[in-house]
Subunit: 600 residues, 2 copies
């Protein structure tokens, strides 16, 4: 296959053999589904990825989103992608039938999004914002607002965004100053303010764009407790559902970014003529709470973007390594022998294996989370709900931050496999690196994810989330321990788990002693360590499934042996660094904390 | 200062307080120099960097080098930079008076190059190629060739390049197929072949360009032992020194690269009309040996490029962190308090400290090497020559590969400090990241540097190079051990040194057992571990000098305390990962080596 961007065998292995997604159909919510509908979705997504998304990957970068001073034009190729996406009903297949969805499991939907993003992540962002706006309406919108917008969004007739960030309030959302004043004569508020870095903030793909906007109602308390959420359309809907009057949402510019150039990242001014109407979503002052539900979704989506692109880079590098002839075996330097494919050089194999281990381990983590989200949505068992909810709370920041950083590392390694041509924009890997860089920054910078993990999620219910996760890991470890061929890998994962648990308890003591600053100053390292353990665990889970298949007499030796060797590689070469980090964190290292800014 | 890109105090500290470069003037070669001439060079370089190089940084990226199908135009700003560089005599001030140089120490010249590169590394590449071509002529050219070219190059009247890579021979130089056929009627050869990725390969800055070209003389042995080096001008010099007839060196394209867009990276076809003349440099078949001398120079230059830019990124991030207001102290989240500068957030300080530690430690390593090169050039003591030569052999691949990777990491961290605006091309850090990426690829990909270190330099004279370096480190450790305030840092560096020595001996055993593949497959990890030790040692050396200054009653508390804390930070937070790598390497980890390519 010329341009394979993902390994479909691997995706099916994860969905069916590791996570048994068919078993989700036991829940009434997914009862209409089966492997047949899953396969249809995967096949279609694969085809669309390779025939529509990927061919537009470089052209969308070169054509870029354009701003003429008033309006934004999306790259021409985006229009066709949108059309195809609408036809297939891809915006929110997980939504209820009632709301226009197909009650499709997120685990399989996540796999299809992984495919799309491997082909063209800038394009997927237009799509994702729209589904996200719909989800917000579903979770906290009035029936009237839902009637007005939901089907428009889920059908892709209109598009959506997420308007949080302001020029002086990015990470610190509590400082947003966009205002909302209740109109004396209507059910709406007048919105006033500027939002920056709004993905898909303006474009010419749809006739209307619907912005969920964070703003402060007059007299609201300061900080995060005074933020409300509004639905602000670009054009006010007429009663018949057509776009009506312009709603005073002006675009003042788009960012000239390092990557994702096909994406229109806009600065929007709401209410420049004091005629911008917003409709309150849910209750006043609870906007951030609503938005966080969507943000958790967006964070896993960011991980899918990042790892999807890393998968594409890995497969491009792998193909190149199999085709590019250069050098000889290290043990036979005879220059008269023909050169060998570079995949045969140990150093190149090491680079490829690094990528494979990260992509497959982190994809495992993402699909695991998506599967848990399916259970959380469908279960009627309160214990099961609580357990899955805690797992998701804990793992979401890991997926986002480690997904972004690890994917960037993987793509960087892919470029190294390419050598000089990788630095040329003729090959796609340079763009992948440029596109990928933002994932550590947006949807909550990685430092914020780390604070979320260590500052909020780990202490949740006195550490209950960590205990649930460690229990899940223990189950995998017990299975692996019982398999002779995997004992060595299990031992490494267990050693890492012990170190992580140890440092978690140590830090809990630090936190309880009141040294909050020391507790949080190591958050980023903690997240990386924790995520590496999680990835190592996922790879072990895959190795268990692989060994079982081999024991059952499978003839796919290469695939399954590769799975086991990949888990071993990660356990042997990456996990020791997680243990080193645990040692550092246990030493109460506070040089950065105590570093006087005047010393820089 | 608005746009400070380097810390001059830090450069002076290293040159005068850590390395005592004034002491180089004890050698007759440098006898005309003194702190006064050093300061003049540094001051001038600082001024040129900030007034000429840096203002053209972004414009050269946007204007790009252009190719019209026949000729390449350098970005307009490059012409003025070149003029200024010529005026100052900056091409090879280290060369002898006789050859047009100023017998200036490389250590101080390296510091000025560090400055220039912090401002605009794409520009510096035009300059460096020219000095490099001159150096090749100096070291192995006939008097006739030197008379013809040397002053032209060192004065910047003509420019130079380095033409090694071919479309099918990059890393594997032994496979180059460019041919050289002795002309029956002259002192020259007819050159035929294509070279790719030639930095500054063509441009309109100078009236002539001189290419050192690797090619095979008819009947030469295969592989690296049959490669000769030729001087191939774009225009053949007339006897009066003016450029004469076109020498059939055609440009067929320039690369569209991710970064360094102001640089013309050309594909050159030599002898398309069978009329391209080359003059042999030195003896036949020894071309690679000569070229390697230049390449060692080029490798340290690559490190200067990388770390210079990382310095600029760090200082930009530091300034931003001091100016950008966002969030509150973690311990007082009162939203009615004014926001604080982000430098006060521990996570941001950690990110800045990571950059500072790498930039200052790696710059230390570079200047240390440059100082050793000065001694090697000037000493008459054969022992001292041998010791410095071994140190340079060992540390050059570390400077190049770790300089490139560490700088890329540092710039990536700088972008994270900027958050969303860092991803915008309006701020310079995105370009720095794009520009920097190639440094791990060119001048010998980092994997090749690792093979050079572990495969060639470590075993050199039965490990003598390693012993010399460890002796140098021991001297620093002994000094630090005697200082109470530095004992803890010294202990960490010593522990790392022990681990590195241990794994080096272990690997020597592996190599002697004949398992060459296992020995080299861990080369990249070995280089990273080894380099981290070297950087930690350099930072300790700086801490020793800082503590001495404090003990002597200096009132520069902030600067010196910062130095010590930076060394401690690196020892506590980075060196444990070097130790973890040592543990991995000692375990004879061979998953990648044994990974069957069919398993990917």
């Amino acid at each position: 296959m010329d341009d394979q961007l993902v390994n479909m065998r691997n995706i099916r292995f994860m969905l069916y053999e590791v996570f048994d997604v068919e078993n989700l159909c036991r829940f009434p919510y997914y009862a209409d589904h089966s492997k047949e509908t899953f396969e249809l979705a995967l096949e279609t997504a694969y085809q669309m990825t390779h025939e529509i998304f990927w061919p537009a990957f470089q052209t969308m970068d070169r054509e870029e989103a354009r701003f003429d001073g008033q309006h934004v034009a999306a790259p021409p190729a985006m229009h066709e992608i949108w059309r195809q996406f609408r036809e297939g009903g891809w915006f929110a297949p997980d939504a209820t039938y009632e709301n226009g969805g197909q009650q499709f499991p997120l685990a399989v939907y996540a796999a299809t999004l992984f495919l799309f993003n491997s082909g063209n992540t800038a394009a997927c962002m237009y799509l994702n914002g729209t589904g996200g706006t719909g989800r917000l309406l579903e979770s906290c919108g009035s029936q009237e607002l839902k009637d007005l917008y939901l089907l428009k969004l889920y059908s892709g007739e209109w598009a959506g965004t997420m308007a949080l960030t302001e020029p002086d309030a990015g990470t610190s959302l509590g400082d947003i100053i966009t205002t909302a004043v209740k109109a004396p004569d209507g059910d709406y508020y007048l919105i006033n303010g500027t939002k920056r870095f709004i993905s898909s903030g303006d474009h010419d793909i749809t006739e209307n764009i619907v912005h969920p906007v964070l703003a402060r109602i007059e007299g609201a308390p300061p900080g995060v407790k005074g933020i409300s959420l509004f639905i602000v359309p670009k054009f006010r809907p007429n009663p018949d559902g057509t776009p009506g009057a312009f709603n005073d949402v002006a675009t003042t510019g788009i960012e000239h970014k390092m990557g994702l150039k096909g994406q229109a990242t806009a600065t929007l001014v709401f209410g420049d003529k004091n005629d911008c109407r917003g409709w309150l979503l849910g209750e006043p002052h609870k906007g951030l709470k609503y938005m966080f539900e969507l943000m958790n979704h967006a964070r896993v989506f960011t991980a899918i973007q990042a790892v999807g692109q890393a998968s594409a880079a890995y497969h491009c590098a792998l193909r190149y390594a199999n085709e590019r002839l250069q050098g000889r075996e290290i043990t036979s330097k005879d220059p008269t022998m023909p050169p060998i494919a570079i995949v045969n050089h140990p150093d190149v194999r090491l680079m490829l294996l690094k990528q494979k281990a990260f992509v497959e381990g982190c994809l495992g983590l993402i699909l695991y989370c998506a599967g848990k989200a399916d259970v959380r949505k469908a279960t009627t068992d309160p214990d099961e709900f609580e357990r899955t909810d805690l797992l998701l709370e804990l793992l979401t920041p890991c997926c986002k931050a480690h997904g972004a950083d690890g994917a960037f590392d993987a793509i960087r390694t892919a470029m190294q496999v390419f050598g000089g041509v990788g630095y040329s924009e003729e090959f796609p890997v340079a763009q992948m690196l440029r596109d990928n860089k933002v994932f550590s920054i947006y949807e909550g910078a990685n430092g914020i994810q780390a604070l979320d993990l260590l500052g909020r999620k780990v202490p949740l219910k006195a550490g209950q989330a960590v205990r649930v996760l460690m229990g899940e890991m223990a189950a995998t470890l017990d299975e692996a321990d019982a398999i002779e061929a995997l004992k060595d890998i299990a031992a490494k994962v267990r050693e890492t788990q012990d170190a992580v648990v140890g440092v978690t308890m140590h830090l809990a003591g630090v936190g309880m002693s009141g040294d909050v600053a020391l507790y949080v100053c190591n958050a980023s390292d903690y997240l990386e360590m924790f995520s590496r353990l999680a990835v190592g665990w996922q790879l072990l889970m895959q190795a268990v499934a692989a060994q079982k298949a081999l024991d059952a007499g499978s003839n796919e030796q290469d695939f399954y042996q590769g799975k086991i060797a990949t888990a071993r590689f990660y356990a042997n070469r990456v996990l020791p660094h997680a243990i080193a980090t645990a040692t550092i964190l246990k030493a109460n290292e506070r040089t950065a904390l105590d570093f006087n800014p005047a010393w820089f």
